[in-house]
Amino acid sequence: MKSYINFLYNGEPVHIDFEKEGLSPTTTLLNWSRNNGFKEVKEGCAEGDCGACTVVIAEAATDGKLKYNAVNSCILFLPALDGKMVITAAGLVPETHNINDLHPVQKAIVEDHATQCGFCTPGFVMSIFALYHTPDQYDDPKINNALAGNLCRCTGYDSIRKATKAALKENKEDYYHQNEAILLKALQEIETDSLKIQVGDQLYLRPTLIDEAILMHGEHPEAEIINGSSDVALKQTKHFQRLPALLDLSALRQIKFFEKKDNELHIGSGMDLETIRGNVESVFPALYDILSVFASRQIRNVATMGGSLGSASPIGDLLPLIMAMDGSIVFTGKSGKRTVKANEYLTGYRETVLNSDELIYSIILPLPQANETVKMYKVSKRTDMDISTLSAAFRLKLSAGKVDYIHMVYGGMAAMTLHAEKAEEFLNGKEWNEHNVNETARILESTFTPLSDARSGAKFRNIVTANLLKKFYEDSKEN
């Protein structure tokens, strides 16, 4: 147990002893960077939406290589950096005024006129730099998706996309390729251990083993759990609330797993959403699709499955699909593990059956079968990087043209994610045809009594609820 962290910042070692320095452990990486002279890290929103604060965090992956992830430094607390490497736009090459000495990503930005006022540029550079170190076949949709978490108000995205392509094509070795072995060694030499930081009346716990986490959770029931902190951090960064006690699960390797067993996925609650997305493109397209419009790449790189379930938000984008698939959630606590059906997990607005001494350990998600059609739709004001106005997951099995079973689960239509039970019952055993779908759509229009809020009116939500079934019907014909 220690109260300090060590990490590399643009290759230089940094040591922070929170208690000695009297530094709040929930200092964000953005604020720490700016207060220490790294002004290239910008704040545009302090809530993960604009990408101006994007930096890259590199760490040793299971294959022994460095993995580079773009993240929003505005909603990342410092302890999450223990044993890792932070890279900012000023750390790509030594300071230079010669365009030929710039990093290929920076050079492409200049040559393709992909910057104007420049406030967004260091963030874009870092998102593109992460791609530069993550080999893939990058086409326009992939680049758009990877940059969806970066806003630019001046330049226009076309030139930025052009610069991205030019940089990725160039693909010259940079400082980080050339020094990978040295950097890896430097990271391995950092001893990482559980953290217990007490500064003033603020407590920050970051265990490395699950049993330790359960114990700490028991000793400090007041501590709020975080993993990616992409939800909880906003309390502080946007609403200026104090976070008096936190239990950070992001160092628990035991809950970072992804396994395909027979027809099920077993996903650890600490697994980040971007890695899950990368693993399910072919085995579970509906999950891939919804994850592709879940926040942004920067958020998905830190946000976890456990965090999505733990926030129990009625507009959370994963629960509808998990419920439609009849998945299960595994809890762990002092008295061991227990499994509950996802359909029995929620009990009310942000209320669940998780006991106060338990943690979410994993989920078990059945995969769609060959004779099933599974889709999920998200309706939001923007396609990318937006919170759902409403969402719907559908799972259908037909035999001889008749509905064997259908699951329709809606988010954003009530205080919690819900099945459209009446509509499901109505369709069971019936022909899967336009007439019956239209009849069901009529039922759906009055199934829920949703809220009117900034995202849309109740009437719109009801109409769309019905229309999504019609869309699903059309899409199901393609299967």
Partner: protein
């Protein structure tokens, strides 16, 4: 100060006209301290019925300026004689500039009355004029420097002046350099942005 009509006060004293209408500014060593200090301010105010839409404003005769018309042709005569008349209304919503860098300003007090103002303004000479008026000092005591600033799209032509004036007041009062940087939420609440418009139209035409 303010765009076109210069009808915005530096800090509200008698009347608060909207959410975000600033009536006090606080200086502190850290952002958090300043924020917490603002929570301690007790406002002694009496509530009035708010005017929230253009229709309500017209009904309450609470107009920003006289009604404006754009007319073409011999309007009165043509409307009487024409075979067809169409009329309607269109509304343009308000727009936020959403410059990626929020309004910010540093003011460093110099010798005697001097103020060095680093402002993210698109209009340094107006910033100088307004700081001079607010502080009651000649313009030549004030130097405004604008370094590179985040693309502003007009949103920093006039809105930055409030921030500069507040920083100047605090700098004078404390005798120390003052930096103000609005959070995104504050920026959106405080700055004017593009007003909503409501336009009634009427058109007369014949068969040809």
């Amino acid at each position: 100060m303010g765009p076109v009509f210069h009808d915005e006060v530096c800090l509200a004293d008698k009347e608060l006209l909207c959410i975000g209408h600033t009536y006090a500014v606080v200086a502190a060593d850290t952002y958090e301290q300043a924020y917490l200090a603002t929570k301690l301010i007790k406002l002694d105010a009496e509530e009035k019925t708010p005017v929230l839409s253009i229709d309500q404003a017209i009904a309450a005769n609470s107009r920003l300026q006289p009604e404006r018309k754009i007319e073409r042709g011999e309007v009165d005569k043509t409307f009487k004689q024409s075979k067809h008349i169409l009329e309607g209304q269109f509304k343009n919503g308000a727009q936020e500039h959403w410059y990626l860098e929020t309004q910010s300003c540093i003011v460093v007090p110099g010798e005697e009355l001097e103020l060095m103002v680093y402002s993210s303004t698109q209009h340094p000479s107006e910033t100088q004029a307004i700081v001079s008026e607010v502080m009651g000092i000649p313009r030549n005591e004030i130097t405004v420097e604008t370094r590179r600033l985040g693309g502003a799209f007009g949103g920093k032509e006039t809105s930055g002046n409030h921030v500069a004036a507040w920083a100047a007041l605090l700098a004078r009062k404390s005798g120390r350099p003052i930096r103000i940087r609005l959070t995104r939420d504050m920026d959106q609440a405080i700055t004017g942005k593009r007003h909503p418009f409501q336009s009634d139209w009427k058109i007369a035409f014949d068969d040809n």
